[in-house]
């Protein structure tokens, strides 16, 4: 790789740009508790609450950046330092949605493309997973027979499915979607099945006395009662989907965020890769929080039975 070029650039930037983040964030921390204390007297614990929640991550972030900068600023470092990344990939960070032609688009657009694939693959996995899980959870024998199979398939890494998937679909996009589906469906099935098995006998009795038919039983009893379990499965599943999409796109191409990383690696743009990693991390975090939030809203009643 082109290490000499990277190195010289890094040195130049460090000189002109003495670690901006650590300089602004670190001094804030000693004064903040005092300020929070004064606010506490007036506005109650609210400001303190915010400070307690926001400060530690900011301090940690500053420390990480500082250590990172120190480790990579030296001559001969193989990885880019924060300042290098800022200098070289500023446009990627600050402008997620530029569009300069088919392969030169902002990371926001790329994330959108990847999210679209995840939406399809994960959407199918959610529907199939809940339905299959519901059927399996209803039957002791299906559970006994299929659970070991699922437990084995569950551990297969996403990329291991890709060759089979490519052979079956002969096209990159459906293959990527299939890999997402097959990676994320297992935890959904398993958790749904456990949730269905744990439906209290009382609710089954109520359904029996009311003579609910299977469709009504599914919607009125099964889904709400198993919802906490189902959402645990969905949350694990969405995380796995996001893991799978990046890996799959690296191999199948296209304009997703995964392919971007592969492309950046091939053209030795390490700073771009770091920025893409940040995007992936943040998006994965947001996805997880969204599913968790939906779960919390949807299971309002059930959790406090």
């Amino acid at each position: 790789m082109s290490q000499p070029a990277l190195k010289t650039k890094a040195d130049a930037v460090v000189a002109a740009f003495p670690s901006p983040k650590s300089a602004t964030v670190l001094p804030l921390s000693p004064s903040e508790p005092a300020r929070a204390g004064r606010l506490l007297a007036k506005a109650g614990g609210r400001a303190r609450q915010v400070a307690v929640n926001v400060l530690p991550p900011l301090v940690t972030l500053a420390l990480i950046l500082l250590v990172w900068q120190m480790l990579t600023a030296k001559a001969g470092a193989t990885l880019p330092s924060p300042t290098t990344i800022w200098a070289e990939s500023k446009d990627l960070i600050t402008q997620p949605f530029f569009n300069f032609g088919p392969q030169d688009i902002g990371l926001g657009w790329r994330v959108m493309v990847s999210l679209q694939r995840v939406a399809i693959g994960f959407g199918i996995a959610a529907i199939v997973g809940v339905l299959v899980g519901a059927v399996i959870g209803q039957s002791v024998w299906a559970m006994r027979g299929l659970d070991p199979v699922f437990q084995v398939l569950r551990t297969v890494p996403p990329l291991a499915w890709l060759p089979l998937s490519l052979a079956a679909f002969r096209d990159a996009n459906p293959s990527a979607i299939f890999v997402i589906f097959i990676t994320s469906v297992w935890p959904i099935i398993i958790n749904t099945a456990v949730g269905i098995r744990n439906i209290p006998q009382d609710y089954r009795n109520v359904a029996a006395v009311l003579r609910l038919n299977s469709l009504e039983f599914f919607w009125r009893i099964m889904i709400p009662s198993a919802a906490p379990y189902i959402f645990t499965g969905l949350r694990i599943g969405v995380g796995l989907s996001w893991l799978a999409i990046v890996a799959a796109e690296m191999l199948t191409g296209g304009v997703g965020i995964g392919f971007f990383i592969w492309d950046a690696w091939n053209s030795s743009k390490l700073p771009d890769i770091v920025v893409a990693l940040l995007y992936i991390g943040v998006v994965g975090f947001v996805l997880d929080r969204i599913v968790a939030l939906i779960g919390r809203v949807a299971t309002r009643g059930t959790a406090t039975a």
């Binding site: 009382d202 609710y203 009795n205 109520v206 029996a208 006395v209 009311l210 003579r211 609910l212 009504e216 009125r220 009893i221 709400p224 009662s225 919802a227 299971t299 309002r300 009643g301 059930t302 406090t304 039975a305």
Partner: protein
């Protein structure tokens, strides 16, 4: 020809088999109940009262014998035998109104219009004085209130037989007395046929027309049936000093603590 009973338990046996071991719980249960009658079942813990109630409800299959309602065998659960479960069994994700409405929609979906079903739901909630809490969820109301909603849900099905499994077991004495009065009043107004399991001798005597006393398990059967010759409507305080009341109370106590003392399983 003898008049046919409304509800008949015909030589019911019940045994559970688990892991190759069979345990006999009920043996030769024979009972006839008239329409509009209020029958209590009393017996020591574990003798099989809930099992018997679940058999009548159709939730548990019999091993031998049959349950006949209006001369027809019933062996599956249905809204004509509504159950009020010991632990209320309200669906926690539905509001008080929705819990009752679910039953109303299911039973009267074809015969009543939407407006009528709404009105009928509210009517039954008012019957147990729960109209004010109709938009609350079960987790937001007290135990006694939940039990009321459970009763409203059962009543809303207009069941032929109302089955109550220790409906007030988990409640404090005051709430309990209050709900007992409600049930007595509802029974007086609607004339339902009611079967109630209880551990409480006073509750049994005050509410019932007849008290069915069960022997201890295994292979429990009906040890004795006591008629309660008290005039209705019954008043809690007046009844307590009525000689007939005291006599019934003594008879039940004598049965439970003398003739069929609770024996600890060896």
């Amino acid at each position: 020809m003898i008049a046919r009973p409304y509800l008949k338990l015909d030589q019911i046996d019940k045994s559970f088999t688990r892991g190759g071991r069979t345990s006999e719980v009920l043996k030769g249960i024979e009972l006839a109940i008239d329409k509009g009658e209020f029958v209590s079942i009393i017996g020591h813990s574990g003798c099989g009262k809930s099992t018997l109630l679940n058999i009548i409800a159709g939730l548990t299959p019999v091993t031998q014998g049959a349950v006949l309602l209006e001369d027809r065998e019933v062996n599956a659960p249905g809204p004509d035998r509504a159950v009020v479960f010991q632990n209320h069994s309200l669906l926690p994700w539905l509001t008080v109104y929705e819990n009752v409405r679910l039953a109303v929609d299911k039973v009267f979906g074809r015969t009543k219009s939407k407006v009528e079903r709404h009105a009928w739901t509210l009517h039954n909630l008012d019957l147990v004085q729960m109209g004010h809490a109709r938009d609350k969820r079960p987790s937001e109301i007290s135990g006694g209130m939940k039990q009321r909603v459970g009763i409203a849900r059962a009543l809303a099905m207009e069941p032929k037989v109302l089955l109550l499994d220790e409906p007030f077991g988990a409640l404090d004495a005051l709430t309990r007395a209050h709900l007992q009065d409600s049930v007595m009043q509802i029974h007086a107004t609607l004339g339902n046929t009611v079967i109630m399991i209880t551990h409480d001798v006073d509750e049994a005597v005050l509410l019932s027309d007849r008290i069915v006393m069960m022997t201890n398990g295994p292979a429990a059967c009906i040890g004795d049936v006591l008629s309660v010759p008290l005039e209705r409507p019954r008043k809690r305080l007046e009844a307590a000093s009525d000689p007939a009341y005291l006599k019934c109370r003594e008879a039940v106590l004598r049965f439970l603590y003398e003739r069929h003392r609770y024996v600890e399983a060896a």
